[in-house]
Symmetry: D3
Subunit: 253 residues, 6 copies
């Protein structure tokens, strides 16, 4: 079976969407699956806060619902416990993972403990909440902020980005006893080799991991459980929502 | 100082908004604060899923941003870890609580352990995630579903609702060793006395608790920390969002 | 309803009782409640150990029992899991909180994580035990000792006290990622503004928080659950105890 | 070296003190140590609540301080996280354990998980708090109340006591997957064999375990750490306390 | 790249090895990888205890070391925290997973919580220890024993096996709120469809999941971290061990 | 009763076995028990990895089974969650502890929190897993590696060993707030006094603690529960295993 995946970038930055698309395409080739990458037409350029998550979740959910029938699996390319993941899982049955969860599933069998190197300081508590939700906080050595904003990853010179990331990765290895580093932002896709060379442990590109894990579950024919948490969304009276959302609410149960 | 609170119902049902408003008004009187209750013009009638949370968060956040300057505290009247709470906290500084968190803060000093009696089975895992996020899961004896949908609370006869809630409340007390019951849905506001009479322990009306706790913090002049998790939202290029959201993105930092 | 609170200082130092009384009076005014502050006639001047807790619990419990009928809520002004709190809750029904629990309930909705800055090193493990008992240890970034003894707070020059507290508060913010600081001793009442100015995050005065939280629950008419943990104390044969204790043991069930 | 232990019963019931003394004497013989058992002259006949703990802690601490120089180890014969244990540990250096902690240390190497069968329902949340404080809650399958009051153990016919305890022990084994039963009250000393015969797993007499564990640590010459938590109590101005307490406060540091 | 996997059955039963081989071959086809299945020449027919784990680990480790250079990934087909997994990871770098870990990684993105249905009662505490080691215990609703011995799976009539497994799976779904069932024994490979039909939620065949997860990591080129926990085994003086073990100890570092 | 203990060293180094034997003999004298120390004829000289654990577990289990009838308790003198401990517990009923578990049981009543100072960095994650398995991780302040290999303890000059251990012990006390230090390797037996003198808190020799705890349980007549986790090993068809293992498999149930 040829599985087909959709990588959805909730950030609307074109540069970031291309970066993500490149990593996703390489991973898709390794896994023997097909893969498209896109971002919604509206919403914030980059997701830096809960506020941004809410706005991007609305538009990304609409986008996912419009494309739902065409794919065997979905990857949400925002690193964190983005609310849209749960919404998509309720509405469809094919495997759907955010890149945070996928990266952690990928890293767990490779080492005792992993650390996440992320962007701005706000992401530290946000990702720690995500680790608790996933139920894997005990395996995380640390979450470290590089101090970079998400869009800095496309604006700043490569050597500055490299230095900031490797500084934190090395501290995670030496001070926090991390044995694997997870890059904690979709915009860091493609940087895993240079960071790994500097810190001496495996480094996980989260977009790569997202396509690998969703690709595996899609090839295996896995389906989201429809019992309790992810049972289908109830049909509702018509509302003034965009077409993808309206379609789900208007669907017969 | 006379504190003024806004109770925001992310569900758009008028009946539920009135039920909430009644409980909120009583609690406001007890606390010596003023209080308005409203719901956004768009979004699902009732919140029964993550999908609904996303759509309602978008419209509720917009609504909160339009009203932000007029109030000394905000209560989000959806029982659960609703994503809009974090978004509002970033954008403003006055105390903002969801009614799940407020109910638990209210219940903790009254007993060793509390149980939550909620609506449909999907809310059980959703609320258990909320307990982990709040960091208080150890104090929760159980989360029990009554099997009622949110809108059943306004449609079914009172005696059926009463029986379903008291059945679960009694099991929570006798089998799970709960010493306080928290009603786990905004639509259950006003039912605490009849359930308490049946199960013999204090019962918390979550809307009442929301106004009490936000009222206390507002009277005390407490302010959300602006370090890390809730620092202000960054200004952004103008986007096609409704006026409340656009206003935050367009705001000078 | 005009609620009336009793703030009980288990430490018998007059200076500390006045410091506590000042903070309590300000908070009572903000909450629209009345409030008296007193300490028992016997017991250690300051509580620096478990040994002191035991002796002070005996005399504070007696004192509380003598005053039990006159108040709508009680605040125990010793920061920690002081054993007297549970004893009072069993014997009466009006809301009774220690200032540690109250401060944490106050701080939780304001930030991702709080740190406690306390007095001598012994309090670090004692407060960590308290956090586990309250079930909120996951939300605490750190407990830091200032190295000050309790009575140093009334004996040392202000600038030394200020320096010791702000040093630890700043480390908590920068190294431990605290977003709110809780002052971990009743004798630190009134110092919250100067510490907040130095460390840039909200700082909680625990006596203030105690009166705010008990004031809110008293205004709301909340009552301690009498199921299991806090059910009334059984009547007993007469014993050679002081009048407040004898009264409870002699009470008809 | 011939170690000498003091078993202190914080309950003032003579019948219970004799029951404890019998079990302690047998365990002392098995361990090759000497052992005296006594109770303080004042305080509640039985400890059924936090209120009772406070009163008994005061008189038991005084009693322990009067005897402190004569013994190589102390056993506190109240099953639970009794506050007096910490107070004694601060004031002296020889090993001091409550019978709850001793029973659990004794049971841990014998099985995957243990259950505690205790007296009245209030002890369930109290012992669960104790398990958290000891940091061993994960190894406990359940805490089950027999519904008996402490003094019922000396008043009711043996067959009723036996039935209540074995009923709960069997449920713990079959429903909760306990592999060892710990008897959760000093007054149950001596009943371990009959309960073990009925439920088919090892049963721990807590007084026996207390003497075994303190006896072992005393023979081994172990000493309480005087760093932080249990450092010595500070000398204080003279106060109106009984002689044992006054002696500690008046001691030169 | 064509990845090649080795499925190692630590149990020496030929029937079980064939059952495992069938499931592995199907999964390998779905994943587009090659796969061989074998068991060591010595060791217990089935693994029912820690004693068996030790004996089987010795022979399975030797077997794995003899084959180490020929494969791109290894699957250990014993459901549990089998000690051989860590030993293999130290000695080689290609991805190596036990089927317990693989099944859980497979199940986590599909539901809020999973339950494991295993064989004899001893496996319940053994698997609960495994869940703690993996750091995912919070996501497990329950571990349920079917009462079947491992070899019963090849000896008893199908309908009895089916009944025992579906009885426990249904209880896990209805009483424990599991949303996915994981079959907790390699000998249950191939039974997932019939159990799923009976209990209405997705069911994970652990051998299938093992090949899917190792297949994905092998295709992706993932490597075990060689920092700390899994760094290579040190060379040692020659010893009287079988050839695979001797080879590792004799290897130059 | 005169109890007789066997101390089994899974490491085959003669020097280490003598070091262990010396410490064990002193502890046996203090406890009034007899004690023999031996190591298996095969297996790695020192245990530095999971790989070594597997090989040593096989030979140590065989050795233990040959001696099983002659002793009243067994001590496994490898610091860590060595797999052989569980295997022995299944096969016999007399108390059997590893020296990690024994040291922790010994340390828990002496302080709020302990730290472990161990050998090479790999032991840090291995011992942290052991702490989770024992269910006592909350009481551990830190696990610190001295950077020494196990055999360095018999090869390097005493002053170097002393410096490495005291450096880490002092950091554990000052930075991690440890109040007791546990020496985390059997080869450190006998070093407790010099380390204690340097760091000012009690230090636990793990071999001493092993003999004290097993000695106490053996004198007390404690027996391993045979319910679930440690029920006897099933008889099996004859296999090509060494005599101790063959004897258990061939035993009638």
């Amino acid at each position: 079976m040829m599985a087909r995946l959709l990588v959805l970038n909730p950030n609307t930055s074109d540069v970031m969407t291309r970066t993500i698309g490149n990593s996703a395409a390489l991973a898709a080739r390794a896994m023997g699956v097909e893969c498209d990458t896109l971002c919604p037409p509206n919403g914030p350029e980059s997701i830096e806060s809960r506020f941004d998550e809410i706005v991007s979740a609305y538009w990304t959910l609409d986008c996912a619902m419009q494309k739902a029938d065409e794919y065997d699996g979905m990857v949400v390319a925002c690193f964190g416990p983005h609310p849209v993941i749960g919404g998509i899982r309720e509405a469809i049955s094919v495997p759907t993972l955010g890149i945070m969860e996928a990266s952690i599933l990928y890293a767990l069998p490779l080492a005792a403990r992993f650390s996440i190197v992320t962007t701005s300081p706000r992401w530290q508590p946000m990702l720690e909440e995500g680790l608790h939700l996933l139920g894997v906080a005990d395996r995380c050595a640390s979450v470290r902020s590089s101090g970079l904003a998400v869009l800095d990853l496309e604006r700043l010179p490569d050597e500055i980005i490299h230095k900031r990331l490797t500084d934190e990765a090395q501290k995670a290895v030496e001070q926090d006893h991390a044995e694997v580093i997870v890059l904690g932002c979709a915009g860091m896709a493609g940087l895993q080799e240079s960071v790994a060379a500097a810190c001496g442990v495996p480094v996980v590109d989260p977009v790569w991991a997202g396509v690998v894990m969703v690709g595996a579950l899609a090839r295996a024919g896995a389906r989201t459980s429809k019992r309790n948490l992810y049972r289908p969304v109830d049909a509702r009276p018509a509302m003034a929502e965009p077409p993808g959302l309206a379609r789900v609410y208007g669907r017969m149960p």
